[in-house]
């Protein structure tokens, strides 16, 4: 009996999660990168918490962005290498759904842990306790938007050697609104103000991303497989 698109997508999601947990060491890499980058700023700028609090939102967001981009390179790479991606395109199922499942797995493995870790880093940068949800929620949404947008670039640069910098260059123009509004939300939270407005905008971007990005990513995958 033919599988439905949804069950095929679920299989892709489960497989990616299972594979990630069998190589647990690699899961830590984006988080380690995030921790290192956030540590660099106090070392480079100033250990004074008052000064760090001023730039905390920006530091956290840039570190989260870079860590996500680091992990994006590997979104399709292994699948393209061993022929699995080809099989996705030939499965007879909607490639858009399958690609969305992969992106969701990527977010669950990278974005969510980052969103959990970011408040801790924020505390180290002098952020008040009250602002911690203002760090976690925007970064959770922002990394989801990043995974969706970045998947397009990841699919376009398949098979290109050392594509890391090119991937960043391709993703950045579309990811900038996410960075701007996300950092704004976190910054408002750090200052104790209401961050509802930029958070809603971020949520709107996620919705737009969820509906449009997988289509573009599926098209990009097909182009790369040609």
């Amino acid at each position: 009996m033919k599988s439905s698109a949804l069950s095929a997508a679920r299989l892709v999601l489960v497989r990616d999660l299972k594979l990630a947990f069998r190589k647990r060491g690699q899961l830590v890499q984006p988080l380690a990168f995030f921790a290192i980058v956030t540590t660099l700023f106090p070392l480079a700028i100033s250990p004074e918490l008052a000064r760090l609090r001023e730039i905390a939102a920006g530091v956290l967001w840039v570190a989260a962005l870079l860590a996500s981009l680091l992990a994006l390179e590997f979104l399709f790479r292994d699948d393209a290498h061993d022929g699995t991606l080809e099989q996705y395109a030939l499965s007879g199922q909607s490639l858009t759904w399958l690609v969305f499942a992969k992106t969701a797995a990527h977010w669950l493995l990278t974005g969510v842990p980052l969103a959990v870790m970011a408040p801790l880093a924020g505390l180290a940068l002098g952020v008040p306790y009250a602002a911690l949800t203002g760090i976690m929620a925007p970064i959770a949404l922002g990394t989801l938007a990043l995974s969706l947008i970045g998947a397009i670039g990841a699919a376009l640069t398949l098979g290109i050697r050392r594509s890391g910098v090119l991937l960043t260059l391709l993703t950045l123009p579309l990811a900038m609104p996410v960075l701007i509004f996300g950092a704004q939300a976190t910054d408002l939270a750090v200052r104790g103000a209401s961050y509802a407005a930029p958070l809603y905008l971020l949520a709107a971007m996620v919705v737009l991303g969820v509906t449009l990005a997988p289509l573009a990513t599926a098209a990009a995958v097909r182009i790369s497989l040609e």
């Binding site: 009996m1 033919k2 599988s3 069950s7 095929a8 299989l11 892709v12 489960v14 497989r15 299972k18 594979l19 069998r22 190589k23 292994d78 061993d82 022929g83 699995t84 080809e86 099989q87 996705y88 395109a89 030939l90 499965s91 007879g92 199922q93 909607s94 399958l98 497989l225 040609e226």
Partner: protein, 209 residues
């Protein structure tokens, strides 16, 4: 089994400035097999991938039944299985898990079907190990088990017997024979000859430009 034939009309494909496929015509009906031969670089893989619909030819068209495959590509895909050079297996998953995820995207099947396929290719004893511990020949056997499990009428195989010992090559021949005799279609790119006695075989020789 499907009653449909696959037909290709005047396929032209360029890769950069190389004219890889120059006006290829072919027609394979149910119960027939097409063997594609040619030197390295003559376009065998490109032809198979174009027939799959992965690659879009500059000119020409492909018909499945009497319908242009471009009109309903997912439908066409759901009736074929393509096996490329590399077996599409994940190193960290076992053979069993690999097949569950790979074939499971197309169709649901029971554990007994899965077991039967694995035993048929001689993978009964090592189907629980991670695939990265398997030899190239063993991986190829698992991939072939997958092809059988897909239960699709059209098989597109790129060098299906690579890395296989004599037993393995005989296995591939037998499976292809069974499939064709049951009314399936097989298009295979081959370097070495497979011993296919009772199968209606067409030949297509590709020459490199």
């Amino acid at each position: 089994m499907s009653r449909r034939s696959i037909k290709a009309e005047q396929l032209h494909l360029w890769r950069g400035v190389n004219h890889v496929l120059c006006g290829i015509d072919l027609c394979v009906s149910p119960g027939e097999m097409l063997v594609v031969t040619g030197a390295n670089g003559s376009g065998k893989t490109s032809l198979l991938r174009t027939l799959c619909g992965l690659v879009h030819p500059e000119e020409g068209r492909i018909l499945w039944g009497e319908q242009n495959v471009r009109q309903d590509l997912p439908q066409f895909h759901s009736e074929l299985v393509y096996l490329g050079h590399e077996p599409p297996l994940k190193g960290d998953l076992s053979a069993r898990e690999n097949l569950r995820y790979w074939v499971g995207m197309r169709r649901t099947f029971t554990t007994s079907e899965l077991d039967a396929a694995l035993i048929r290719v001689g993978a009964g004893g090592w189907s629980e190990q991670p695939a990265r511990t398997l030899s190239a020949g063993q991986k190829r056997r698992v991939a072939i088990a997958g092809v059988v499990l897909f239960a699709a009428p059209l098989w597109l195989l790129d060098e299906p017997a690579t890395n296989l010992d004599v037993d393995g090559q005989r296995l591939v021949s037998n499976l292809i024979e069974e499939h064709v005799t049951a009314g399936g279609l097989v298009i295979a790119a081959l370097h070495h000859e497979l011993n296919l006695k009772s199968v209606a075989t067409q030949r297509l020789e590709l020459s490199s430009r």
